[in-house]
């Protein structure tokens, strides 16, 4: 009897998820046709921030390994994919000081595959970075991952024949649209929330709660932390690749620690260990970033011209971050999730009361 009930509920959930995805698909379809380019751009950015935030939350929030290396993984994704999807002619134009080395100078492959390749290489580096660092804890891990991310940036600045150095890559084809970014975002959410809700996810969370106890329960620390780093880096690479093709210009300093800070803001404000919190805050973040631009451009205030204040956006974000850290210590969602299951629960509450009563 109980089993049947559960099955029914599962189907209902599945059904709801399908409907949710359908709604998103229809929305993207309409948006892509009717919205103006500016709005679409913001919505596309939302998707990318969701990818970045959720993947960082896997490492920092669910596994409890405080990484500051996300920007590094992103830049690897962005550069690797750009090197693969740019046309040879475009490369020649870009690398006018130091020519690009063979074979990158001649190859060109489809966008989708190059994004995946960006993710895979980022994951590989995630493993190489993660492997030696995984025995460090807390702030030491934070420093080491930050150091790695800076090393990547410095190397990219100096490896002219591959990355074009500080000149960066300009005029990248803008392949990233709403479909790519939201598709990838939904896949990221699907992948990471399923991971969290699996036996592996429980192992990751147990590491966050108490490493020694987790190990005593048979959780292989090295393997599982490495797993979190690799998966997180993979999606960071994907996010970086999509971002590169959206903003169409990348240079190594695009992916400085400031970038990591922005994603940390999203994750902390949304709540370490809450995917829904991250998704909500990532979306708000992308939209606010645009709205707050008004402060940074000249304004007409009752006839008087006010000059724009550059940097105001980030200042406001840093204040929000500090307020959340100091007053809402667990972030917006406090590590909890808002889920369809709860949604169902709300509607089936009377039902449950009767069941328990009988």
């Amino acid at each position: 009897m109980k089993k049947v009930k559960k099955k029914e509920k599962d189907y209902f959930l599945f059904f709801l998820k399908i409907i949710a995805i359908l709604i998103v698909v229809i929305f993207v379809f309409i948006a892509q046709r009717n919205f103006d380019a500016y709005v679409i751009r913001i919505l596309t950015l939302c998707g990318i921030y969701v990818i970045l935030g959720v993947s960082l939350n896997l490492i920092n929030g669910f596994t409890g390994q405080f990484s500051l290396g996300h920007a590094g993984f992103m830049s690897i994704g962005a550069y690797v994919s750009a090197l693969l999807y740019m046309s040879p002619e475009l490369k020649e134009v870009n690398y006018f000081i130091t020519p690009l080395i063979w074979p990158f100078s001649v190859i060109q492959i489809p966008f989708f595959i190059s994004v995946i390749a960006g993710g895979i290489i980022a994951a590989l580096v995630g493993f190489l970075v993660g492997a030696p660092c995984l025995r460090l804890k807390g702030d030491y891990l934070a420093i080491v991952t930050f150091g790695f991310s800076e090393i990547i940036r410095i190397i990219f600045n100096n490896l002219q024949s591959i990355t074009n150095g500080p000149l960066g890559l300009k005029g990248l084809p803008s392949y990233t649209n709403l479909w790519w970014s939201w598709g990838a975002a939904i896949f990221t959410i699907y992948f990471i929330s399923n991971l969290i809700n699996s036996s592996y996810g429980r192992a990751l969370k147990s590491i966050r709660e108490d490493e020694a106890a987790a190990e005593a329960m048979g959780v292989n620390l090295f393997y599982h932390k490495g797993l979190a780093f690799v998966v997180g880096a993979f999606f960071a690479g994907i996010g970086g690749a999509l971002l590169g093709s959206l903003i169409m210009t990348i240079d190594p300093n695009t992916f400085s620690v400031v970038m990591t800070f922005q994603i940390i803001v999203i994750v902390i404000v949304g709540g370490l260990g809450s995917i829904t919190g991250t998704v909500i805050v990532a979306t708000i973040f992308a939209i606010l970033m645009e709205f707050l631009r008004v402060f940074e451009s000249p304004m007409n205030f009752f006839g008087t011209k006010l000059p724009g204040i550059p940097g105001m956006r980030m200042l406001i974000f840093s204040i929000i971050l500090m307020v959340v850290i100091l007053f809402f210590k667990r972030g917006l969602m406090g590590g909890k999730e808002f889920s369809l299951k709860q949604f169902i629960k709300i509607f089936s509450r009377d039902n449950r009361v009767i069941k328990e009563g009988s």
């Binding site: 409890g64 080491v144 100096n158 940097g311 980030m314 200042l315 840093s318 500090m322």
Partner: protein, 292 residues
């Protein structure tokens, strides 16, 4: 490389090393007491240069007075940062204060961009610091000579405070054992505030000397000196004041010498610093000169 060029680099390296030592003290003292990496320290360093800049540019104070005012303001800033961002989180998990430190660094940088503007500003260099001595082929700027003298003077004062006064004793007690020190009736908040004051004051002195040496100031300028100094603190064994000084010298000499001996690789000099940092954290986390 001729002996003269080498000597010139050596003096430069020592002078730079002194600056890192001054900054590193702030990291090491705060870490020793609170087990907190004060990510905002590099930005406090940056603020000091702007304070000095505006004291001269806006109030046209004579440079000595302007520098003094900047140091005082920076000390107040350091204490305020502790009061606002760290003190409320003393009993929270360490990761919260780490987040807070990152947030504070982010905040100060953006505050500086908004208030002072993002463009680099030329720092006023009084004539006193602008002379060049020529001693048989070696050309040395007076800053490079003044820096070590000033630094060593203040480092001696610091050593005196830490090892010879009651306050220093309280600091050492807290850094040995936070809870016991609390039980023994040491006024924690006051001692911690003082730690921030000393760290920020030394950072301010370092910052002004830095700006005299590289007379361009901008909101992100604290980052690299900050990280190098932090590396110095780690190499010296974080929590150890003597270690921070030695680490600072080592990092200063190293960066100068890399540029001098491998000019083609100069672009990688910060990468070397980070590699060193990672290496020490992984294989000798107590630091090379680790003592206390």
């Amino acid at each position: 490389m001729s002996l003269n060029v080498f000597l010139q680099n050596l003096i430069n390296g020592i002078s730079l090393g002194c600056l890192f030592a001054l900054i590193a003290i702030g990291y090491t003292m705060v870490y020793g007491i609170l087990r907190l990496i004060n990510f905002a320290h590099g930005d406090i360093f940056m603020m000091a240069t702007f304070f000095a800049y505006y004291a001269i540019a806006l109030f046209s104070l004579p440079w000595g007075l302007a520098f003094f005012a900047a140091i005082i303001l920076t000390i107040l800033l350091g204490i305020t940062v502790d009061r606002i961002a760290y003190r409320p989180l003393r009993d929270a998990p360490r990761i919260s204060s780490l987040c807070s430190a990152i947030g504070m660094s982010f905040f100060l940088q953006n505050l500086a961009i908004v208030v002072f503007g993002g463009r680099p500003k030329p720092f006023f260099r009084p004539e006193f610091f602008d002379q060049t001595f020529v001693i048989s082929d070696i050309r040395i700027q007076s800053v490079s000579l003044i820096t070590p003298l000033v630094s060593i003077f203040f480092l001696l004062i610091l050593t005196y405070i830490i090892y010879r006064t009651k306050t220093g004793l309280a600091m050492r007690a807290i850094s040995k054992d936070f809870d016991t020190a609390k039980l023994m009736g040491i006024n924690l908040n006051q001692t911690i505030a003082l730690t921030f004051a000393i760290g920020s004051g030394l950072a301010a002195i370092g910052a002004i000397l830095w700006a005299l040496r590289y007379p361009q100031i901008f909101p992100f300028m604290g980052m690299f000196p900050g990280w190098r100094a932090f590396t110095a603190a780690i190499i010296g064994g974080i929590g150890s004041i003597r270690g921070a000084m030695l680490g600072g010298f080592l990092i200063g000499l190293m960066t100068i010498m890399i540029v001098a001996f491998f000019p083609e690789q100069a672009g990688y000099k910060d990468a070397f610093v980070f590699v060193l940092l990672i290496f020490v954290l992984l294989y000798k986390p107590e630091g090379i000169f680790g003592e206390e």
